[in-house]
């Protein structure tokens, strides 16, 4: 079994732990993840904020390279990259004129045939069907599943789960033995790309999300986006300072929780790289 992967810049750097856990799980389930050769940054928020055409051209090059290399299905673990890639594919599909212009800009052929999978779709399709026989250490904890923005929005374009109170991640967590709590903050924004330029906003928004999860008795928060993770984990000192408190809730990538449940060690899923200490005693 072989499928493509677009790691994106975060998984290559500040979210190495996410990357490690994705690849470690794939290995357990005998899936070969093939990186799109010579992939580039998707442009993220900066590109679509400042230059629309650039924000379409950068993801289009990535998708064109996937096509060129015969990768029909591509896993995109970063929710932000996932959103940019799907939005671009959609835009180029409904606007043939823009598509032709973008093809000239990237100087590559582009058909728009790649099937893009977010991390939950990938787990649902390739991991969950075989989970029962691999489950050695059920993740018996109360968890708050945090989807953030870009895994479910813009919902008309992504066409994935529902935009209010989505359930797909909750379902995956149930399959590995966890107890997902009712969590109204699951699609509130963490502050996204303001981590550096407006840390105060990130502290406030991320702090509210953590506060609610702790208040409802969650032992862990589960995420599927490197940007959410860095705001909720790496920015914890800023959050605690802003709220004048000490939130201790650890933030786990969904693939880290799943990896632990199938017997991978904390190190194999990159837990030692977190800022907020993760103590798993099962």
């Amino acid at each position: 079994m072989k499928i493509g992967i677009y790691p994106g810049c975060s998984l290559n750097g500040s979210a190495r732990d996410y990357n490690e856990s994705v690849f470690a799980i794939a290995k357990v389930f005998d899936i070969e993840l093939v990186q799109i050769p010579d992939w580039n940054c998707c442009g993220a928020t900066a590109a679509h904020n400042l230059n629309k055409e650039l924000s379409l051209a950068l993801p289009a090059r990535i998708l064109a390279l996937a096509e060129q290399n015969g990768l029909d299905e591509v896993l995109v673990p970063c929710a932000a990259c996932y959103s940019r890639l799907v939005v671009t594919q959609h835009e180029l599909k409904v606007e043939p004129e823009i598509k032709n212009r973008i093809k000239k800009v990237i100087e590559l052929d582009y058909r728009g045939t790649t099937k893009i999978l977010n991390v939950i779709e990938w787990l649902d399709k390739y991991i969950i069907p075989g989970i029962e026989e691999k489950l050695v250490l059920p993740f018996k904890h109360k968890v708050a599943c945090y989807y953030g923005c870009l895994l479910v929005r813009p919902n008309k374009v992504l066409n994935y789960d529902r935009s209010e109170d989505p359930q797909t991640m909750d379902e995956v967590m149930r399959k590995i033995g966890a107890d997902p709590i009712y969590f109204p903050y699951k699609t509130e924004c963490c502050g996204a790309g303001f981590s550096v330029s407006r840390t105060d906003i990130v502290s406030k928004l991320s702090g509210k999300i953590i506060e609610d999860a702790e208040h409802r008795g969650a032992e862990f928060m589960i995420v599927a986006c490197p940007m959410c993770h860095s705001n909720l984990d790496m920015r914890r000192p800023d959050i605690n300072q802003y709220f004048k408190t000490k939130f201790t809730l650890p933030i786990l990538f969904v693939t880290q929780a799943l990896g632990l449940a199938v017997g991978l060690s904390p190190k194999e899923v990159g837990l030692q790289r977190h800022f907020v200490p993760v103590n798993i005693d099962s």
Partner: protein, 189 residues
Amino acid sequence: MSHSSHQIERNSLAFAIEKNVDVHTQKCYQCGKCSAGCPVATEMDMPPSYVMRLLQTENQAHDENILQSQSIWLCISCEMCLSRCPMEIDIPSMMDFLRQRSIKQKMVNPKAKNIVAFHKSFLNTIKYTGRLYELGLIIDYKRRSLNMLQDITLAPKMISRGKLHFIPEMIKGTPQISGIFKKTSKKEV
């Protein structure tokens, strides 16, 4: 519907929005759901529903207020407003357009300069290496924003966790990437 019978003032921002991003501001009937759900509305000088109302007046002074507002930069692109709008008005796309117009007309609110500086630094690193180079981004951002001491203790902690590259990962297609930047840089907004 009322918006289709109304002739929009051709010099107005509402007209430019309709032409460039196909968003029809007249559809808004001020229910306020966008502002209620917006995570940054409390930080804004004008929440999204107020921006919509100002646009509907097709008044030049109001248009300038919008382009000079902090709001268009504080919009975080979370897409909550669009997902809750009963008229499905694509406010996030409209905000992208307003930001680009605001830069082009040199109307960027001084209080938003760090946000703009960060976006520019981000794209600058991509332009030269093809992928994000965090260290390069931070150095470029500090140069633009003059926030030299910000996060100074964070870098060593990231390094000890293996989360920061010292050397950028240059992709082979870097010339293609600079070509893409060049070909998309002179677009009229």
